[in-house]
């Protein structure tokens, strides 16, 4: 039997499944057997956390990035642009936010993408829905949320992220901010994209998914390690309810302060989520935690600096302001109902 990429992928998945389902036992054996640590002590709690969460998150990351890579091989910015052309407001915002999750996107390409959308006559508000959702709801954030918090919090995060992207985009559309786009953007007359849309075979898609895994895991593994190491320290050594006063529900200022700290703080999801997870355990409230994560991951300083090339300062301020307000509302809402 010839080993095609598709067959290798199937074999790799079987190996993955075996590793993932036996992880708890293996780590227990190492921590309590080989290292002879007493269950329940601080050091064993911290070490167990680190030795278990690191491979778990890396395994999940590999699988999900691969899966998302396969899905993304069906999408391209050009295709997404075609779908978004001539869509009425709101419908456009909903589609743009959803497509933001599955379209391959890197914040370094935010400017070409922005210009490409504007040129095709896609409304600014719809373009912003895309630009808000794409970085905020990314596969790395989804993996870490799912791995550490479970599917409920993951769904909440994705759902709230989509809501913010849709509503913020719709508001930006209503504000009629076209005059705050740099004039030269409208002057560009690009030649129609001559790029051939090739038909990809199943093997091509597997290869594409694998390239994504290599690229993304190479980029984030160190942050995962550091984030989980700090998280493990907090897990083992910070007293219970330590964060209750600082990031708890009773502190009304906790949400805005989290957002204020979160926006300029630039970290990828891989580094921040394990730390936030440990804080939640120590008494931080879910709303405050969600708001902090969203502002760190979704609103990044580098991306706004890049967008400054095409947006005038008032529009940058509106963009950051509208999204930050959305995050604040999510924070307060969850603190109130959970």
């Amino acid at each position: 039997m010839k080993l095609t990429p598709l067959r290798i992928a199937v074999l790799a998945f079987v190996a993955w499944w075996v590793a993932y389902t036996n992880l708890t036992q293996a780590v227990d054996a190492v921590v309590y057997g080989v290292l002879q640590l007493a269950p329940g002590s601080r050091i064993s709690s911290a070490i167990h956390f680190f030795l278990y969460e690191t491979p778990k998150v890396l395994l999940l990351l590999t699988l999900v990035v691969f899966g998302v890579g396969i899905i993304r091989s069906f999408f391209s910015p050009e295709k997404t642009r075609r779908i978004l052309e001539d869509k009425p407001p709101l419908v456009g915002n909903v589609l743009a936010s959803t497509l933001g999750i599955v379209t391959p996107f890197c914040s370094c390409s935010a400017v070409p993408l922005f210009i490409g959308f504007v040129e095709a006559g896609i409304p600014l508000g719809v373009t912003f829905s895309f630009l808000i959702a794409a970085p905020m709801i990314n596969e790395v954030a989804i993996v870490l949320l799912f791995g550490l918090f479970g599917w409920q919090v993951t769904l909440l995060y994705v759902g709230m992220g989509l809501c913010i992207a849709i509503i913020a985009g719709y508001i930006i559309d209503r504000l009629k901010v076209e005059r705050f786009v740099e004039e030269w953007v409208y002057a560009i007359r690009a030649q129609p994209s001559a790029l051939q849309e090739e038909r990809l075979s199943a093997d091509d898609r597997v290869r594409y998914g694998w390239t994504q895994v290599r690229e993304i895991v190479a980029k984030v593994w160190l942050y995962v390690l550091l984030g989980i190491a700090v998280g493990a320290g907090i897990h083992g050594y910070v007293p219970e309810n330590f964060m209750a006063g600082l990031m708890g529900r009773s502190a009304w200022w906790a949400v805005p302060v989290s957002v204020l700290i979160g926006v300029p703080l630039y970290s990828n999801a891989a580094g921040i989520i394990p730390i936030v997870h440990a804080l939640l355990e120590k008494g931080a409230s879910l709303g405050t935690t969600l708001a902090f994560m969203m502002s760190v991951i979704g609103l990044s300083l580098p991306e706004t600096i890049i967008l400054r090339k095409v947006l005038k300062p008032p529009l940058i301020a509106i963009f950051v302001g509208v999204v930050a307000t959305g995050i604040l509302i999510v924070g307060y809402l969850f603190n109130a109902i959970m």
Binding site: P112, A190, Q191
Partner: protein, 83 residues
Amino acid sequence: MTTVKILGSGCAKCKALHQRLLDLRTEHGLEFDLIKVTELREIMSYGIMATPGLVVNDVVKSTGVLPDATQILEWLKEAHHAA
């Protein structure tokens, strides 16, 4: 002579693509002009929506990805034969 342009204003993948082309040129003793296009307006005139863009003799070959070496070699050969 074949002209290869790399469209991109300094992202990590843009630099990697530039390096890959330099390596290919020395490894295979190829002859082509290699131009880095970093000016946004010029980048956008090619109608691409993700960087890096790889342009061989004014034809966009790839966008947003780092194509592998064999693929790039193939494009260069095609361009060479067409000329």
